[in-house]
């Protein structure tokens, strides 16, 4: 009997193809968008952490305990000693790790008309790209020359825009030196960086250690050693790896603090946890809209066929047969719609992961706070959500068909045939 019911159900789905198509389309759009939105929300988290790792915080940063205590004021003291040996020891303990020194400092950048606060970094141009992706972000101009003829620096694109400067222009920097006296000097802008991290784009200034020592003092210390670890497939593992590596470094070196990305991003991650309930609400609303659409179209489909149910009952089908027949129909539509939803959702996720959603093109210069928007909003593959969405679509369709079918199955043949 089951085989017969499946055969009838299949024929009914094809016979009422318009209704079937509408029901399946509602499922496809509803569940497909659910998969896409979930991917985008997960992608925002990964993008934020990626941006921190690739441009500022690295997988972890090594500094002295004294510097760690005062790090928010960016002192030019409490530097690391034996930096080369320390880097070698880290490489020995963490064979896949790469390192580069960085010394952040506060400065003011001026075009002689305006003066804006800037976040400066003394970097080693030859090793910086082993840890950070700054070199890939040149918008105009070039990376540091191997043998510069003039004092050169790189600056963030928005800082350049705010000061009305372009590559090869000169910029006046002023900052406190290592001995607390003030210094000011002019630098040629070798390149302008379009950095996804909005804060660096707005205020970032990068100069070589050679220039920084002339500007800030010959005794300028290396205050942080940035460490890059391989990028794992998911965020949880990335955070876990950075914590474990930081623990190894601290265990091997007394008086050294290793600040993992998990610790550096602590504020963001706490904020993300707070936001999670709102994100869940968005997902729930999308799912609810999809669910209501599915239930509505299946209900309409079943109620419009009550007379047909009366005929089937007249042919001798029991109410259990009727219920099973419509359940199978609902299941078939659910399978078709959910499969299409999976395909649509996957296509959208693939597009967002591969190309990024060019949200910045629509909202030029949109500041999304800690979420870097420069490269477009990228989604993240979330297989668990896809499976859940597929099963939800099938189940919603099945239940939606079963409830009115059960009610219709209980009607007398004459009542069903008279049903309007």
């Amino acid at each position: 009997m089951t085989r017969t019911l499946i055969s009838i159900a299949f024929r009914n789905v094809v016979r009422h193809w318009r209704r079937s198509l509408i029901s399946a389309t509602v499922l496809t759009v509803g569940i497909g968008m659910f998969i896409f939105f979930d991917s985008v929300l997960a992608g925002m988290d990964r993008m934020t952490i990626d941006s921190m790792v690739q441009f500022n915080d690295a997988s972890l940063k090594v500094m002295t305990s004294e510097y760690y205590e005062n790090r928010r004021t960016m002192p030019l003291s409490h530097g690391l000693e034996r930096t080369a040996e320390l880097a070698a020891e880290i490489a020995a303990a963490l064979p896949e790790a790469t390192t580069t020194p960085r010394t952040p400092f506060m400065a003011f950048a001026s075009n002689r008309i305006d003066s804006l606060p800037a976040l400066g970094y003394a970097i080693d141009p030859s090793t910086d790209s082993l840890v950070f992706k700054l070199e890939n972000q040149i918008d105009t101009g070039s990376w540091f020359s191997a043998a510069p003829e003039e004092k050169e620096i790189l600056i963030g694109k928005l800082l350049a825009r705010d000061l009305g400067l372009k590559e090869n222009d000169w910029i006046l920097l002023s900052a406190r030196m290592t001995d607390d006296s003030l210094n000011a000097d002019e630098y040629k802008i070798a390149g302008i960086l379009d950095i996804p991290d909005m804060s660096l784009n707005e205020s970032g200034i990068f100069m070589s250690y050679a220039e920084a020592k002339q500007f800030l003092g010959d005794d300028l210390p290396v205050t942080t050693l940035a460490v890059a670890l391989p990028r794992p497939a998911n965020l949880s593992k990335e955070l876990g790896d950075s914590l474990a590596s930081a623990a190894i470094i601290e265990k091997n070196h007394e008086g050294i603090r290793a600040v993992s990305i998990a610790e550096a991003a602590n504020d963001y991650l706490a904020m993300r946890d707070m936001k999670a309930k709102y994100s869940s609400l968005i997902i729930f609303i999308v799912l609810l809209i999809a669910g209501v659409g599915i239930v509505n179209t299946i209900l309409m489909s079943v109620y419009s066929r009550i007379k047909e149910i009366g005929v089937l009952r007249a042919y001798g089908m029991t109410s259990a047969h009727i219920r099973r027949l419509f359940s199978i129909e609902g299941l078939l539509i659910g399978l078709i719609g959910s499969s299409a939803a999976l395909a649509l959702g996957s296509l959208l996720v693939w597009w967002s992961v591969r190309s990024g959603i060019p949200i910045g093109d629509y909202f030029g210069g949109l500041d999304m706070g800690v979420i870097p928007m420069g490269d477009g909003l990228r989604g993240e593959w979330h297989p668990g959500t896809m499976v859940f969405g597929f099963l939800f679509g099938v189940a919603a369709s099945w239940i939606s068909a079963r409830i009115p079918a059960a009610k219709a199955g209980k009607l007398e043949v004459t009542e069903a045939l008279r049903f309007v």
Binding site: M106, L172, S174, R176, M177, S181, L182
Partner: protein, 253 residues
């Protein structure tokens, strides 16, 4: 540390708070160091109270801040802003430490490190400028580079240089009134020789036998059309000040 008789420097007006010196000695006979010592001598009071008005000019925009200020010795100063936008904002300086209190957030922030270079309330005075209280003669080696008539006053031009650690402006150029030993103009330079700030004394008052700079202009040379004008009124020299004024508890009063 000098004895209590040695005075306070007027917090915001530290760099240009000047006194009247009666030039009984012929200025021509003084060396650069002696001139600087007399300038320092004019800058000392044991305590002061004043009500101030700060006009912050940035291009066509002018912001006005008003304040009450108390200071005692060279290590203690307290400012309370009284203009409507900033009413209740307070600053306390104790030796080398500086705090600000923001009433809307009910938050006390210690100003330190790189934050010291930022302008106070958006003005051309940096927190670091407000922290300077040492005598110029202690920090700099002076030389006389010439004479000039400035605003109708005959002035020595002093070149000050310092190689010492912790001196914010390694080089200064001062125009010192030959009669009163007050600074009428100052140029503050970075280590590289770049001019960072220019101060001008636009008005003075005679108080207790000294000439006090009551109107001072301070201009950040890294910005165009930017200057801050500080006018001091209701000045009281050596007032009686509640010792509790110079404490963090005073923020919550």
């Amino acid at each position: 540390m000098k004895i209590a008789q040695r005075a306070l420097i007027v917090f915001l007006a530290t760099i240009f708070s000047l006194g009247l010196g009666i030039a009984t000695i012929s200025a021509q006979t003084l060396s650069a160091e002696e001139i600087l010592t007399r300038v320092d001598a004019n800058q000392v009071y044991s305590a002061i109270y004043y009500e101030g008005r700060m006009e912050i000019v940035s291009g066509a925009r002018v912001k006005v801040k008003t304040m009450k200020a108390w200071a005692e010795g060279e290590d203690k100063a307290f400012i309370e802003f009284t203009n409507p936008e900033d009413r209740g904002t307070k600053m306390l300086r104790l030796k080398d430490e500086l705090w600000m209190y923001f009433p809307s957030e009910r938050d006390t922030v210690k100003i330190s490190g790189a934050m010291l270079r930022q302008g106070i309330m958006g003005s051309d005075f940096s927190y670091q400028d407000a922290m300077s209280s040492e005598e110029l003669s202690e920090l700099y080696t002076a030389s006389i580079s010439g004479s000039e008539i400035l605003e109708g006053r005959d002035c020595h031009i002093l070149e000050l240089r310092s190689g010492a650690s912790g001196v914010h402006y390694p080089r200064r150029k001062l125009w010192v009134d030959k009669e009163h030993f007050t600074i009428l103009r100052g140029e503050l330079y970075a280590k590289s020789g770049t001019l960072l700030k220019v101060l001008r004394v636009l008005g003075t008052l005679s108080l207790q036998g000294r000439r006090f700079p009551s109107v001072v202009e301070y201009a950040d040379q890294l910005k165009k059309n930017s200057k801050t004008l500080l006018t001091m009124d209701s000045i009281v020299i050596n007032p009686s000040i509640d010792p509790g004024r110079f404490s963090l508890q005073a923020f919550s009063r």
